[in-house]
Symmetry: C2
């Protein structure tokens, strides 16, 4: 009975028009696990170098994010640098130093092989498949992916989609992958590939969920200021996975609440740099945004 989060652990350098930060916590597993931690105790599957700052490990521990499944390798941790243009319309990758992540071989400790929820956060689909080969039982498999893998690892991506219960994908990617132009049609094609649940993220337009002919939409929260959009999608899927692990209810109505909490964590994520927006949140913070979403979308 546990939540596995497979993904990358990185030290990020982020440049925005207003401010820059260096060597801050990054990677899909960091955002996803911290966001999930408000609902369940996530176990990260990932790797780091011997230079990984103890302060970040402490931050994870403070949030009951377990690192027993994180391998520490001699060498440097994965580094990534990105620059956002004015208004966050565009992101340029400044550098990608995979370092120890280049030889990452996910290994699931035997205690976690019966995980009830497996979040395959954004990472190479080949690594996602290696994790699925090791887990046992009928845990809920949630898959997040990105455009890069559609082009560079199409075959593996198709395989891992076929073995997932919930596919989370961006709007453009859903269209790119299916050759469709409407989300409802794209979702139908994606469901034919395997997953029972298709969740399409639309950025500032919110998200949509498709399941057996039913559709649910949720708006993004209206924010006064965005500081750093990095990790918004990872936070969304992390909160979704955490909430589903906590609630153990795969009804359409409960899945809606998964999207609600995904939306809330994503909104906190983008308001600050790196993971700062999603750490040390109080229950009242989640309640506030829940109430905002009610005002925003419930009639």
């Amino acid at each position: 009975m546990s939540l596995l989060v497979l993904g990358s652990l990185a030290l990020d350098t982020i440049e925005t028009p207003s401010r820059s930060v260096t060597e801050v916590p990054g990677g899909s597993a960091s955002y996803a696990a911290l966001s999930a931690s408000y609902f369940a105790n996530p176990y990260i599957i990932g790797n780091i170098g011997s230079d990984f700052p103890a302060s970040i490990s402490a931050l994870f521990r403070d949030h009951q994010v377990h690192l027993e499944g994180v391998e520490v390798k001699e060498g440097k941790t994965f580094r990534w640098g990105g620059r956002y243009s004015e208004n966050f319309d565009d992101r340029t990758t400044l550098f990608t130093h995979l370092n120890v992540f280049e030889d990452f071989k996910p290994t699931i400790p035997s205690a976690f092989k019966n995980a009830s929820t497996i979040l395959l956060a954004n990472i190479h689909p080949g690594l996602q498949l290696e994790v699925l080969d090791q887990v046992k039982g009928d845990g809920l498999v949630i898959l997040d992916t990105m455009n890069l893998w559609i082009n560079t690892a199409h075959e593996d991506l198709m395989k891992v989609i076929g073995r997932s219960n919930i596919l989370v994908i961006n709007n453009e990617e859903s269209l790119m992958l299916t050759g469709e132009r409407q989300y409802i049609r794209a979702a139908a094609k994606l469901a034919d590939m395997g997953p029972d649940w298709i969740i399409i993220k639309k950025g500032q337009h919110g998200a949509m969920m498709f399941h057996e002919g039913q559709v649910f939409t949720i708006p993004a929260l209206a924010l006064d200021e965005v500081s750093d959009p990095t990790g918004a999608g990872d936070s969304f899927v992390g909160a979704l996975a955490g909430y589903l692990e906590q609630s153990r209810d795969r009804s359409f109505d409960n899945m809606k609440l998964g999207l609600v909490f995904g939306t809330i964590l994503a909104s906190y994520c983008v308001e600050d740099f790196s993971v700062d927006g999603i750490t040390y949140l109080e229950e009242a913070d989640l309640d506030d945004r829940y109430d905002e979403l009610v005002t925003m979308s419930q009639f």
Copy 2:
């Protein structure tokens, strides 16, 4: 106690990739008044030529749409032709023959000057101002507009915005008019121009309403097939105006329901050609779409 609908009455020719229709009911007042008719009895302020088909007048009468405020002039009715590209990504105007509409001078019969709701459907802002100059009392003024007037009648548009209670505007237009890039900021600037309520239509992404720091969003219904998008925005604002005239309640919660019914009528509008999707609807049809919206957006 009545609903005035100022707008154009036209005979449209519409070409889509699948089908073409000629000389069908069109114009902003036609769509808006028919959509409003499910909630209130609208009085159209407009003009037509002596060639206006009796069948269309009968259609209006069947829907309790009053034509006492429509002037019949010797000559031809306004004709408009448009062609939609594949997937409705683009619309080309084939022709615009204003005919008798060129000399349209709106005149409000004295019985209607105390109208409780005044819908200024999409039409030249100069004509919208002429109507506002004639009405008396504190009727609710709902203004719809389009990009054309931002460029060609900017001064009149600013004046009429300043005298409206509710501004309904497209997403791109809201940004164009304010020079902003985010809807929340655009809405704040638009509210500074006068209207208490700003409603931004986002097409397939639904609509947003802004009022005194509160935001409400509603998704568009997920449709299998679009036949003809002409008049969707007019139908949206028409249903909103009709619902507000019927309910006489300007609370935030009730305004939400106005957007709900606007969304429902717009969805019926685009499923068929011309006004065919919004005529002879039953209460059960509105209920069905209401229930769909609940499933789609309520958690």
